[in-house]
Symmetry: C2
Subunit: 414 residues, 2 copies
Amino acid sequence: MSITTKSPLAPDTFPNLLPVAGVEIGAAAAGLRYKDRPDLMLARFTDGTVAAGVFTKSKMPAAPVDWCQQALKNSHGRARALVVNAGNANAFTGSKGAKAAAKTAEATAEIIGCEPEEVMLASTGVIGEPLDVSQFPKFLARIHDGLSGSMWKEVAHAITTTDTFPKGSCRVATVEGRPVVISGISKGSGMIAPDMATMLGFMFTNANISQAVLHAVLANTVDDSFNSITVDGDTSTNDCVIAFATGKNANTELITDPADPRLEDFVAKFREVATDLAHQIVRDGEGAQKFVTVDVTGAENDAAAKRIAFSIANSPLVKTAIAGEDPNWGRLVMAVGKSGERADRDGLSVWIGEQLVAENGMLSRKYTEALAADHMATDNIRLKVDCAIGTGSATVWTCDLTHGYIDINADYRS
Amino acid sequence: MSITTKSPLAPDTFPNLLPVAGVEIGAAAAGLRYKDRPDLMLARFTDGTVAAGVFTKSKMPAAPVDWCQQALKNSHGRARALVVNAGNANAFTGSKGAKAAAKTAEATAEIIGCEPEEVMLASTGVIGEPLDVSQFPKFLARIHDGLSGSMWKEVAHAITTTDTFPKGSCRVATVEGRPVVISGISKGSGMIAPDMATMLGFMFTNANISQAVLHAVLANTVDDSFNSITVDGDTSTNDCVIAFATGKNANTELITDPADPRLEDFVAKFREVATDLAHQIVRDGEGAQKFVTVDVTGAENDAAAKRIAFSIANSPLVKTAIAGEDPNWGRLVMAVGKSGERADRDGLSVWIGEQLVAENGMLSRKYTEALAADHMATDNIRLKVDCAIGTGSATVWTCDLTHGYIDINADYRS
């Protein structure tokens, strides 16, 4: 079956992504799995560009994940290119997979004129099938000939699998009084899509910052953005977010301290782009009909709050209740209880939208189910729990669990 | 909507449960939530009966769970009665809930002629609604007048919520050359049902054993039976398994050492009953079309193997692939990877049924997808993963994730 209907939670149009000085991009239809659509992208970076990445914690990482982690070490965080293919995850492909990754980097390095270790790689698609890269040099050379600074929608499309819309976000920050662009693209429709892998995010900026600063900004940002979303709780073999900073036509002085106050606006805008890209993945969650924000306060600490929030956001019973527009707060209590984190049962408060549902461990006298039901009928659901234990808090985002999810995942490969 | 279709995985008929000397049972339709069906059960135990329980690890335990844990302490494990209601979980009901539990125990104690602390309680049903027990004394007295040793099907029915069939199991063990009966009933259709709570199990035997022995046998058994099943990974506020031993018309000498060799057959049969009851809950899993056995071997230790097995058994992507009869082994690899436990990616082996699918971290040359697909088309699925790390092993049981699950849980309350 074909899954082509655009998510009801999708933005109306692909946003306007500004070019990033020092970044040229392009895509081609390499016919890896899909027909008549781009499925291979190349980004070329100016000399001096630094890169930083965060990768899946899966114990079964894909070959390109292994490659990037090693390459970033060897190159001391310098990067000249990024190659991403969709349709085949190059995961669980053994030594053949590692060779396919190396060959892709070597071919790219030859075209660009750089070292293979300066080429970052990512793959997304079916797990366990060998990735045939024999045609990659031809297609990469063809893309290279037509690189430009503005084909964001094409490359955002090229990295999608079961996504129903391409995902992008852009902000302009001010550093030392000069404009710095942050453009980003992402893909993902399940935390892992069908038998597909996965969540990918790429962020590009012309900020003039050291690799250590880029890494620190990225690492601090992913926790509250990409690592605060869930569709089905399934972690992919290929998850990664990689950021690139070219240093071109931006702030004049290289900033080398992550705590430098001149970076304040940059860090804020970087976070906005990351959060926007992460939200778009949730909005394209497989079968999603509703975007859900889960706030947890009063937990023992922030980590505990996040575990409770994910316990709620990953609960099949909570997610099906949301699909059914049922203000079923008992399931929220169940999910808090099963998280294993401390919470005061007899002090617990629960909100659905603005409605206080439960307080002091039981149904609130102020609760009007009709008002909560009204909120559940919208497509932007807010759930909040206060644990009455401490000051830890967290926010995570998810979507509902619908027949669409079953359709996509039970029927996709056949 | 009404969910009344019997699970396709249900046994043909309710099994023949033998009476247990010293145990009298009965049920009534108290109209708590359901109409025209029993929803309140009472079991009366002979003087000298000992009880042992294992309870939910939820941090939001229901009032009857609190009650039983305290009562077992106060009574030093002696019990004279068990009262279970279906339709209302008496969970997250604050001090009112605790009072409702105490009143139920007091009324029962008066009818039976025992102490309230000798009355075990369990509730299952909607979370967060006050449980009105004002009519309980009347109904309990009525049940008490008609108690008998053989109404197993009626009481098994009385404790169900969204279950599609009543669950029971029986074995006869030989202890000191004499027959000892073990009869048990259970309920559950999700680990937590719709907005319902939960998984309950009750086992009754006339074995002449001390409370310490009963507790040890129960605790050792639940790990590989009730605690090795999952429908949706959601843990209820009311989960409990309670065992009762009357000591009547059984082995003549009281056995006080759990390691006593005379208990060998009893322990084996007790485990058979517990496993059978647990399997029946999975076979009644919400929307289940397939019964799934997940074997993990070669893990760091047994606990790691169990976490990997549950990571597979709880993965929405694995469960939807099973629903779609898709031998999607890449999702098994993904689930092993996300478990966080050690596994040798490049030594991993995967089986679907008898088919070796992957070995040495990649697709096996012996693999024939058509044969794996044949196995996936059956309703008794066996999945196996060898981690190539150590000697830890575990087996867990689950069911597939289907449209039926969404139907039941998105639409139930409305």
